[in-house]
């Protein structure tokens, strides 16, 4: 037996789109080798072929061409033999929602033939690790998002598999649950020397693995250990400190505009992290932009990832200029456009939102952060007038949401978490329809459609069916539709969930440009580093407001970090953990 658990040679997978009679190449002549006992990460932009590759390894699909053997078993001939030995956690782990936590575990233990005497200790261990021991009788459908994901992982791990496949196990999961999930994975990898292949959109997760494969258009662009990969960005990474009056994201935009010199720029802890193209010096970049200070930094895997991708991808031109101009008169920036005072929402005995107050001014980006079940979605729905508040004052664009809901709604745009447009209509038909719902007709409608399709680079896709657009385009279309009537406020519910770093960069460029026109933006996200783009953030947990302010202010509240600047994610986890501890102590005293 060789030490290779997965061996793929010139692997091809082609799908046939029946309607268009087109061939879609998902994997193109891919070679890969996964060694026993290794933790391997698959990263890459959306549609790179990560899920297809995992499904081929799991025997859920047959390759079109090429060789694939798993655990020295040929996948063409004996997929069932492989399935007896491995465990696979799909992106959407289908828990049986009517069954309890224990019944879900039992089902998988029975199917895998786990002997009764081994079960007890295995269950105990899994339930302790996942903190689900107190919930064994609860139906899986009534668990929070993070808990469901942990139960899914527990179900895949009812016995120690010879190969574990995880497809984006942490997508849509809050940072706290994400940390816990990884703790479980790493612990089992160590104790049982599991071989694991995990696909992920988070590069900090990939950095924890021994091998990383960067996929793009069905091929592996680069692979290696995180350290060797990171080396590629050596001496190319810098940290800019903005001038006192300068917003970090303004400095970021200035840097990104130099797309021939700069690979990537992201706000980080009140400063801007910048990756240069190889062969460029920092002097080339700094000569004509305002900034306070610049210093070299140690590269991260994400920096290297961006560099490798940019080498192989044509630059995604994000034409923010069109977004900035051509907008109606700027609203008065001195008075708040959204004003929330003592907002409360209860469902029976359950308090979903407890006494929350905040103001959002025109042109501000306001971030709502919190773990799953924190009350973000409820707050959101009340602001959009989709859910009546139990008590408190809610005014949007100067209109009280209680008395003038329809008026207030005319001033807002809303992009939901799921794609909520009509998949079998074309882009143009969708835009036309939404223009109608905002009461735009005739010339006005034509102008609005022209404007948004130009702003979001949709002009060349107007005749395509919306449901068949790639992920990034779908989101752009959703945003275009919601901005048709030039609203004062745009609501975005987890717009970047599951999106790859490139798509997220492009998204935030548009959002920051939009905010410069005076549109207020209220957004929820699970990517804590995205909070850096926000002017103000509100952190909630269990309906309570825990912290509010600019990212710097929130970091400063936790000043006991010994000088080291904390990442937004660490800050967030800290705030939630401290608060939960306090609550625990209080209830212990009672």
């Amino acid at each position: 037996m060789t030490s290779a658990v997965v061996q793929a040679e010139a692997l091809n997978k082609v799908f046939i789109n029946k309607q268009k009679k087109e061939q879609v190449v998902a994997l193109a002549s891919l070679d890969m080798c996964v060694k026993k006992g290794e933790l391997t990460a698959l990263v890459g932009p959306d549609g790179a072929g990560k899920t297809t590759l995992l499904r081929l390894i799991a025997g859920l699909m047959t390759p079109t061409q090429g060789r694939l053997s798993v655990l020295d078993i040929d996948m063409y001939a004996h997929p069932q033999q492989v399935q007896n030995l491995i465990s696979y956690m799909p992106q959407r782990f289908g828990l049986y929602e009517d069954l309890s936590v224990q019944e879900n575990l039992d089902l998988y233990a029975d199917l895998h033939g786990v002997p009764a005497d081994e079960r007890h200790s295995r269950y105990q261990r899994l339930l302790t690790m996942t903190n689900l021991a107190d919930f064994t009788a609860r139906p899986a459908g009534k668990l929070s998002g993070g808990m469901k994901q942990k139960l899914g992982l527990a179900c895949t791990l009812v016995r120690s598999p010879q190969l574990l496949l995880l497809d984006e196990p942490t997508v849509g999961v809050d940072p706290l649950s994400r940390q816990e999930l990884w703790k479980i994975i790493l612990q089992l990898v160590e104790e049982e020397s599991l071989t694991v292949i995990v696909s992920t959109a988070y590069l900090d997760e990939a950095a924890r693995c021994q091998q990383v494969h960067l996929l793009h258009e069905g091929k592996i662009l680069v692979s290696g250990s995180p350290d060797t990969l990171t080396q590629r960005a050596q001496n190319q990474c810098y940290l800019f400190t903005p001038n006192p009056e300068q917003k970090p994201r303004e400095l970021q935009s200035a840097l990104l505009d130099k797309s021939d010199l700069v690979v990537d720029a992201v706000p980080q802890g009140g400063r801007v992290r910048c990756v240069l193209h190889p062969n460029n010096t920092i002097e080339d970049v700094t000569k004509d932009i305002p900034y306070n200070k610049v210093e070299p930094v140690v590269p991260s895997l994400e920096d290297a990832f961006m560099m490798s991708l940019k080498e192989h991808m044509p630059l995604q031109s994000v034409s923010v200029e069109k977004l900035k101009k051509d907008h109606k008169a700027k609203p008065d920036a001195s008075s708040p456009i959204v004003s929330v005072k003592q907002l409360v929402k209860t469902f029976g005995d359950f308090t979903a939102v407890a006494k929350t107050s905040f103001d959002v001014y025109p042109g501000e980006i306001f971030g709502l952060l919190g773990p799953n079940g924190a009350g973000k979605t409820t707050t959101f729905r009340m602001l959009c007038g989709l859910l009546p508040a139990t008590s408190g004052v809610l005014s949007v664009a100067g209109k009280n949401l209680r008395t003038a809901r329809a008026d207030a709604r005319g001033r807002i745009g809303y992009v939901s978490q799921k794609f909520a447009l009509y998949g079998n209509l074309t882009v143009y038909e969708n835009l036309r329809f939404f223009a109608g719902t905002y009461n735009l007709w005739g010339k006005q409608r034509k102008a609005a459609i022209e404007r948004v399709s130009e702003q979001f680079d949709l002009a060349s896709h107007l005749k395509d069916k919306s449901g068949e657009l790639p992920g990034g385009y779908k989101q752009r279309l959703a945003m275009a539709a919601s901005l048709m009537h030039q609203p004062d406020i745009l609501f975005l519910d987890e717009p970047t969930s599951g999106a790859d770093p490139l798509a997220r960069r492009a998204f935030w460029r548009r959002i920051t440009a939009l905010s410069q026109t005076g549109t207020a933006i209220i957004i929820t996200t699970h990517f804590m580093e995205e909070a850096e783009y926000c002017d103000k953030i509100l952190i909630q947990d269990a309906g309570e407001k825990l912290a509010m302010g600019t990212p710097e202010e929130i970091r400063a509240d936790l000043a006991d970090t010994g000088g080291e600047v904390m990442s937004m994610e660490e800050t967030f986890i800290n705030i939630i953990a401290v608060n939960r501890r306090k609550k625990q102590e209080r209830s212990d005293e009672d």
């Binding site: 859920l60 007896n84 959407r92 289908g94 009517d98 089902l107 029975d110 033939g113």
Partner: protein
């Protein structure tokens, strides 16, 4: 390999695990129980109490052994009615032969003394109706009685005779359905509808739900075999179907007093086989559509509606245009209805019972085989 041996030897324990899971889901989801138990009860009441059917162009043999002025008048009155197409026959034997050959649906007998009796103030007409289609038979009886009643009334008026104590009484007899209630005819058909609904509709829905919710993706990458997945779906829903059958049989016996002339055993065997056919169709639909909405539409369109309209449940297949009749003859429900009506109303008539059982078994084997072939552990 040790693990491998364990995995392939675990057929029973894996199947048991899946059946447990399926049963729990079934019991916890109210909508399943509503379709499986609530709907059959509603159907029994709706069809048992609420459905009557209109008839026209009744082929009637009129037997007048001794023609008279009065009988001539009655016959022309019958001829003028839009409901009847009378044929005059001179002997009862001839009429009986025509009835058995289904050339006529009813026989009206005006006996020798009709004219004399009528003059005396009280005449009888015997009406014999083919009872295999109870609703039709019942309508024929009602129409005929009212037609004769009206005629007698007019006759009395014309002759300026007081109607008191005078008139014509129709004495009906229904052959092949002793009590002639349409419920007797409909209830056996209802069993077919309910078993189709539970078997096809419910199964198509629950299997498609698994595709839709992505629960199968994780399930596939385990030692589980497609046969086990299919069997686990069949077993619990089979029992729900049997509950539907029991409800119908109970209702037919205690509410509608339908007799079971034939063997109860044959009734059970036929139902079990038909249940498997219905389940197989449900599994086939969901394997192809993988979408709850589509699956439910398909299930209604290809099984429930045809079972109701084209199997002879409502309309006699003999009266349908050839093309539609052919579709009806392709439906397994047609044979199950035929089997049930034979067992309930006619008794153990073996040629029909054996033919229907054989056809249903063939359907069950072929459809289950197809369902097994189409359920593959693949997302391609």
């Amino acid at each position: 390999m040790k693990t491998n041996a364990r995995a392939s030897g675990g057929f029973v324990s894996r199947l048991w695990a899946l059946v447990k899971k399926e049963t729990r889901q079934l019991l916890r989801d109210q909508s399943n129980l509503l379709i499986g138990i609530g709907l059959p009860i509603a159907l029994i009441f709706i069809f048992g109490y609420g459905v009557t059917l209109d008839v026209k162009d009744i082929k009637l043999a009129v037997v007048t052994t001794q023609p008279s002025e009065q009988t001539e008048e009655v016959v022309s009155a019958i001829r003028l009615s839009q409901y009847f197409k009378p044929t005059i026959m001179t002997s009862f034997q001839q009429a009986e032969k025509a009835l058995r050959a289904r050339d006529v649906e009813a026989i009206a007998v005006f006996d020798d003394s009709f004219a004399a009796d009528l003059a005396a103030g009280q005449a009888d007409v015997q009406l014999i109706v083919l009872g295999s289609d109870a609703t039709r038979a019942s309508s024929i009886r009602t129409y005929f009685s009212s037609l004769i009643g009206t005629w007698a009334q007019k006759q009395a008026d014309r002759h300026n005779v007081s109607t008191a104590g005078k008139g014509v009484t129709v004495i009906p007899r229904i052959w092949f359905n002793d009590a002639n209630t349409s419920t007797w005819f409909i209830v056996p058909g209802l069993i077919v509808l309910i078993m189709t609904l539970v078997g096809t509709f419910l199964t198509a829905l629950v299997m498609a739900r698994e595709w839709e919710r992505g629960t199968l993706e994780a399930l596939f990458v385990t030692p589980v075999r497609p046969t086990e997945i299919i069997l686990a779906k069949i077993i619990p829903y089979f029992f729900v179907g049997i509950i539907g059958l029991v409800l119908c049989v109970l209702a037919s016996t205690f509410l509608f007093h339908v007799p079971i002339h034939g063997s109860f055993f044959i009734l059970v065997v036929g139902s079990v086989i038909y249940m498997l056919v219905a389940l197989a169709i449900g599994l086939l639909i969901s394997a192809k559509t993988r979408n709850q909405f589509l699956a439910s539409q398909m299930a209604i369109l290809v099984s429930f509606l045809p079972a109701m309209m084209l199997s002879g449940f409502v309309f006699d297949l003999g009266n349908l245009p050839t093309a539609v009749k052919l579709i009806g003859l392709l439906l397994p429900a047609t044979y199950f209805i035929e089997l049930l009506r034979t067992v309930f109303l006619a008794g153990n008539f073996w040629p029909i019972i054996l033919k229907d059982l054989a056809l249903l078994t063939l359907y069950a084997v072929v459809l289950l085989g197809l369902a097994r072939m189409l359920t593959k552990k693949t997302l391609d």
